[in-house]
């Protein structure tokens, strides 16, 4: 008998109500378990990737660059430099004799070719082993070229994605404070932890514009080096996707005293709450901001809610499983699904913390399965056990749902549909509706009446 959930993984799965809350997490992935997680490098790469006028050079063998070429749907309104894939493409001789010379030559030629505003140099597993002094090379090239050249210490094996986020924040923090803050409004924010997938940052920026709040820097969706350099001039940091950018917010608070608020632009309540938080924060500077924000939310909701109600008619009672990278998305989506009359019965993440899972357990219904660092066979079992109708996840989860004839919502890096903001909530509902309501499911063998009939016949004959 095969073990779907290995003994060593059992403490990373929790069923609400069946036992008191206790969950192991924040552990290295188990060898041979086929984790859905990537590596430290991946964490750094996804966070910094959308900075569009920076050069992103991967120092390592070719794979790390190949598999991250144009990987995110993080749109830029201007430069497209971030969508190119640069690598030192280390070869055997470089591994033996060191890759510093190749790195330096690569940096110099690429900076000359592309005139970036800054360069990020990503360390990979191999660089951590051969001991290249990346920092020294970066310093030299920065001095000679006059642009910031920032080492990102993202050796793949030195942890998981979370360590990569930290490395990315440390690299960005070197930029913060190096730009002129003159002319920044006292009512100003930085948007942290939004990556402008399918133009989502633009939706949020437009809300702030309507509220009278200036956005200094998007960190990092549609991001620009010069904006990050002066972002310490903003009055407030708004942190979405806290796993990825909270570190930067904390560093900025310590160094520049910039306060931060946790926000989420997904779903109805969380989007509205995020705007109200900002309005509250600036209320003493501009007493009318509250009214403007209320009006904005009212206008958006009066358009959105009837449309959601229409879709809800079809979706009421359907069951959802979701598996995401960090947990912030899960919190918001559980609430978002309630607006559609749907119940989340399985929820998991690659890199959630104990607090995350505790909070998930509090807001989820009894019986819900919570899982940390899951893998394909576990997810398949949970889908079956809870008989879910739709799965929310990324590319690697999609075939698991589809093979079982279960609908799917792509809530991933490369999506082309904006899911944030009030308009994003509608897009989200439509995407769920489009998958759940497709006629194809009725023909799938797992649901097919023909199969049921055969089974019934067997039961009778048996």
């Amino acid at each position: 008998m095969n073990q779907t959930i290995l003994d060593e993984r059992k403490s990373q799965v929790h069923r609400i109500g069946e036992e008191p809350f206790a969950m192991a997490c924040d552990r290295p992935s188990l060898a041979g378990a086929v984790s859905q997680r990537a590596c430290v490098f991946c964490g750094s790469r996804v966070v910094l990737y959308p900075i569009a006028d920076a050069l992103h050079l991967v120092h390592g063998p070719i794979g790390c660059a190949t598999y991250t070429w144009d990987i995110r749907g993080a749109i830029s309104s201007g430069p497209q430099l971030h969508r190119l894939s640069f690598s030192t493409d280390l070869q055997e001789m470089d591994v033996i004799f060191g890759g510093e010379k190749k790195l330096e030559a690569s940096l110099r030629e690429l900076i000359q070719l592309h005139a970036p505003k800054a360069a990020f140099v990503y360390s990979t597993c191999i660089v951590g082993l051969i001991g290249d002094d990346m920092e020294a090379v970066c310093r030299r090239v920065a001095t000679d070229t006059g642009i910031p050249v920032l080492p990102v210490m993202s050796e793949g094996f030195k942890g998981n994605k979370r360590e990569g986020y930290t490395a990315a924040c440390k690299a960005m923090f070197q930029l913060v404070g190096t730009g002129d803050t003159a002319g920044i409004s006292p009512m100003s924010v930085n948007i942290l932890g939004d990556f402008n997938l399918a133009g989502e940052t633009w939706i949020v920026r437009e809300y702030f514009r309507r509220m009278g709040v200036e956005v200094v820097a998007n960190i990092t969706g549609d991001g620009r080096v010069d904006d990050i350099r002066r972002c310490h001039g903003a009055a407030l940091n708004l942190v979405q996707c806290s796993g990825a950018t909270m570190e930067l917010a904390k560093m900025m608070q310590a160094e520049y005293g910039t306060p931060f608020q946790r926000v989420s632009y997904l779903g109805v309540e969380d989007m509205a709450d995020s705007l109200y938080k900002v309005a509250d924060f600036f209320a003493d500077k501009d007493p009318s901001i509250k009214a403007r924000t209320v009006e904005l939310v009212r206008a958006e909701l009066s358009e959105l809610m009837p449309k959601l109600a229409e879709l809800r008619k079809d979706l009421e009672g359907k069951k959802v499983a979701m598996y995401v990278g960090g947990s912030f998305k899960a919190f918001s989506l559980i609430k978002a699904f309630r607006h559609l009359g749907m119940r989340v019965v399985v929820v998991g993440s690659q890199t959630g913390t104990e607090e995350d899972y505790k909070e998930l357990a509090e807001i989820s219904d009894p019986g819900t399965i919570i899982v940390d660092d899951a893998n394909p066979l576990e997810l398949a079992q949970f889908i079956k056990e809870k008989d879910v109708d739709v799965f929310v996840g990324g590319v690697k989860e999609r075939p698991i749902a589809y093979k079982l004839g279960v609908g799917f919502c792509d809530h991933n890096h490369e999506r082309k549909i904006a899911l944030e903001g009030f308009v994003g909530m509608y897009n989200f509902a439509r995407e769920i509706h489009a998958s759940v309501m497709s006629p194809v499911w009725r023909f799938m063998p797992r649901r097919s009446p023909v199969r049921a009939a055969c089974a019934a016949k067997e039961a009778v004959n048996g």
Partner: protein, 450 residues
Amino acid sequence: MAENYVSTTNACKMCTPMGAALVFKGIENAVPFLHGSQGCATYMRRYIISHYREPVDIASSALGEKSAVYGGGPNLKKGILNVMRKYDVSLVGVATTCLTETIGDDVGRYLNEFREEFSDLSLPELVHVSTPSYSGTHMEGWHAAVRSLADQVVREKGKAHDGVNLLPGFLSPADYRFLKALGQRAGVRFTMLPDLSETMDGVIWDDYHSLPDGGTPVAEIRAMGGAAGTVEFGMSGGLFESAAGVLERKFGVPARRTTMPIGLRATDQFMDVLAEFASCDMPAKDAFDRGRLLDAMVDGHKYIFGKRAVVYGEEDFVVALCSFLGEIGIQPVLVATGAKSDRFRTAVTAALAEVCQTMPVIRDDADFKDIEDEAAELNPDLLVGHSKGYKLARARNIPLIRVGFPIHDRFGGQRILHVGYEGALALYDKLVNAVLEKSQDECPVGYGYL
């Protein structure tokens, strides 16, 4: 001549372990296992899934900092045990990565220790292949994995049989299906290694399968030593001895090498090779397809004659594509591969010698920056290759005919048929229509007849 850069921009290759992982995905009930950090397995899974849209479970030893210092043996063994617990696995294919190659892990020794330590368990085949990511491309990894299977799983000559080993290289599931069916039509029993026809383009399931159906059965691999011959497509790997070479040296199985059967002449060649083993002349279906292909080549020849194509991708695949494009009157003007290969130039030149009046620019060790720079002066009409050429196609406003792997921006890449007369005909229609569509789109008034 474009400039030579130190850095690589938009690589036209993948890393070595990727090829090995794909090969192991084509073995029945096998689990590919990357000995390295967790990210390698996950990145490759994502890359592969985006093309095939199938579950792709690749295990990892998930090495952390400690293992990098003290060696990855314990994690490797624990990982294999966990794979055995979770999957009904008949073979675990362990491929190294840059990390474990650099720290000097001796995987062969670890596997021997594992076999001894767990001799009380019923163990799957454990195959290992050295795939340092800093050496070669995914195709070196592919060929090395096929060779490791031939070397480590085929232990004896075994009983002589009339089957034929077919080592097709990296093709689409549709291609593998075609080759199997061709063998059946011709009365040749192929052991095709690997066989991704079902594992990477499977049916819908009524219950979740921990591993997909299909793939080359391990028992059939074991019997490859007794086969009547081995047919190997392409140049297979360059420097080292190929799997066909291993089987010839160790068990005296005669090796025949032929170009990947893409297009008329290469398929003719393959049919000739096949005829040596076959129970009949060319099967009727293929004879008809050949006739239809020739008929189409006549019907369409003027639309495409002299069109200038940029062709890029894996060496063997590109050589075969060039042979086809040349014979239908398309002029390859730039032929590029990301691999370093001395033989590439010779092979492309040989493929085009009879049918093209001028030779293309031929580049090995090329990235898309090189391809773009070279293409700038060559005024191409078409791009033929995988979907990573999209950026160039868009910039130049020319059609990209998507073939090979990866195809991340279109649906159905796993079902593109490239080989045989049937595959040639399908590609031919696509090529002609791409040219027609462009001229129709650009016509100021449009038209309804050609």
